[in-house]
Structures are given as C-alpha cells and as structure tokens.
Symmetry: C2
Subunit: 194 residues, 2 copies
C-alpha cells in the first residue's frame, strides 16, 4: 500500500525531527513548536503520541540516535584492526562536524550534560547509548584476544577520549583536537591489542 501513510508516521517523524534538533541545539532550546513545525505533524498530536511530554520524546530520540550511531560504529569496526577502525570512525565524525559548521557532533552528549542529573529516564537512555557503543568497542578488542577487563578499560578510554575530542573540536571549531586524539588512540590500540 505504497503512498498510504501509516498511522505511526507522524510519531516517527516527530522522533526523527527531535533527534536532529536535540543533537544540534540541545534539549532546553528545543520546543514542541519547532518539533511540530519541522516534522509537519499536527499541533496537539504530541499529547497523544507522547503523554510523557518532552522527556519521553527525548528518551525515544536518544534511543534512535544511539542505535544509529552504534550501527555505524559496528560497521566501521568490522574487518579491520580496532586501531584503524577507531581512526576511521574519528575521521568520519571530524569530517561531519566540519561539514556542519561544528553543529552536528555526538547525538547524545549535549542532552546528557543538560539533563542527566535531573531526569532518571534521560540519564538511563543516554547511559544506554554509551554502553552500546562501548560494548561494540569492547567486543572488537576482545575478538583480537585482549582479555577482560582490559578490553573494557581500553574501550572506555577510547569512547571518553572521542567524546572529549568532539567537545574540544566544537569549541575550537577545528578538527585538530580530534586528529590528535585519533593519533594517540591509534598508537595505544596498536600497541596493546594483538
């Protein structure tokens, strides 16, 4: 039945729209008015689709963004050494950041810093996204023979340095911090992962 909109289309569009807005401008700066306008959903439908309000919308947006980022990371990690994969992943993120005028960084970080201490459900959603990415890194490192818990430790360092590198790159409006982090992580991963 191509062309016939499914009943859930408006809801999905609202989540996708919100995910993009939260990613670039954050939680507090994003209002229902803009989500409704950009997604083309009818005003009033938000109460029906998201009885838990903007917090519920954000939880679903984080889940969507987090899963998408996780799939990208797993794709990059496939069939190459984690050192090369992490370098490629950081290069992709740096290129996207520069191409979007330093607006489009980690899809979860801004929302985390704004809301994680005030919303238990948003903290859990953000932590779930990071856990998924860290698991992808840990699995790729473990698969090369590095035992736990060293694989988890190295995956945590990698994720933290990546996130911090994105933060510094946005402030400096330059990929230099990410390039440096990439070189450092590549050397560490090549040194410690068989």
């Amino acid at each position: 039945m191509a062309g016939v909109p499914r009943r859930t289309d408006a809801r999905e569009r609202m989540i996708r729209t919100a995910a993009a807005l939260f990613r670039t401008q954050g939680f507090a700066a994003t209002g229902w008015r803009q989500v409704i306008a950009d997604s083309g959903a009818p005003w009033g439908s938000q109460a029906h689709h998201f009885p838990g309000g903007k917090e519920q919308l954000a939880v679903e947006a984080v889940a969507l963004s987090g899963a998408g980022y996780g799939r990208l990371l797993r794709k990059v990690l496939r069939d190459q050494h984690p050192a090369d994969a992490v370098a490629q992943w950081i290069d992709l993120a740096a290129a996207h950041l520069a191409a979007t005028e330093w607006a489009d960084g980690c899809p979860v970080a801004t929302l985390t810093l704004e809301t994680a201490h005030t919303s238990t459900s948003l903290a859990a959603a953000c932590a779930g996204a990071y856990a998924d990415w860290r698991t992808a890194l840990t699995d790729a490192i473990s698969a090369r023979g590095l035992p736990e818990p060293e694989a988890t430790s190295l995956a945590t360092l990698t994720l933290a340095a990546f996130e911090g590198g994105m933060l510094l790159a946005r402030a400096e409006r330059s990929t230099t911090p990410l390039d440096t982090v990439s070189r450092e992580l590549m050397a560490t991963l090549r040194d410690r992962v068989p």
Copy 2:
C-alpha cells in the same frame, strides 16, 4: 571601607551566579530572571552591566569558571609527577560530581555543546578555557623533559579523556568511567613522561 559595597559588586555577583547556573543546568535553561533572583541584583541592572545580553554574561562566566578550574589544575600539578597529578585531579572531580548528585561537572562543557557553533564569542571563550587547562598539562609534562609536540599531544589526550569521562559519569551516575579513565591515563603518563 569594609561593609560599603563596591559599585561592581552586583555585576560580579551576577557573573558568579550565572557561572554556577550554566555549570549545572546549561545556557538555554538559564534565564535572566533566575540570575537576577539568585544574585540579589536589581531587575533592570542586567541591561546596564551586560549590554551584550546573556551571551556577554556567559562569556564572562566561562572566563571566571575557566580561570578557577585552571588554578585548581595548576595547584594539583605542582610538585608531583603528572601521572599522580592527573589521578588526583580526576579523583577530585569525581568526588565533587558524586557529592552534587552528578550535577556539577566541567564548568564549561555544557555551554560549549549548546552554543559553540552559534556564537563566535562563546566558542572563543570556551576554547580559551580548554587551551588554558591544556597549557597547564603541557607545561607540567614538558617540565619533566618530554619534547614538544609530544607533550601537547599527551595533554590533549588527557584533557579529552577527562572531559569524556565526566560525560559518561554523568549519564551513568557513577564514578566508574572516571576511575577507568584515571587508571588508563595514569599508566600512559607514567610510561611516557620521564
């Protein structure tokens, strides 16, 4: 003339109040109304003290917070190996984060992610704070004999991993990511810094 308020007291209180609010709740969620109420400044005085609006207030708040954090970091880096200093610095930050119910992390990061791509002056203020902290780390590492540019590279990795660790800790509401980052950085710094 103890007890006689200086003319700049209201302005300074507003900056200090705003710095605390931006640090915990971010830029977009912090309005003049709250800054005025919490600082005890008279309504209307903001236009006199900050003709550049909330953006000017935030630039000055970031400068104040950044300088304070930089002084703390330099104090910790004095008279001990960078590996021990970084571990102590991360411990202090982790303890403060836990004591404030995961609200009070890096004084600049939330504002960076919210505003750096839309405000040139805020991006510059945030980049200035990070540059100050990175310089403190670079100087401490160079002082032990590690040549440039390796000292800068290691300082960048350290700062990025610290910031990312704070981000992960806030989402997980746990110091575990920071503890891991601390152990990893300590091993790297001990290995590479004479």
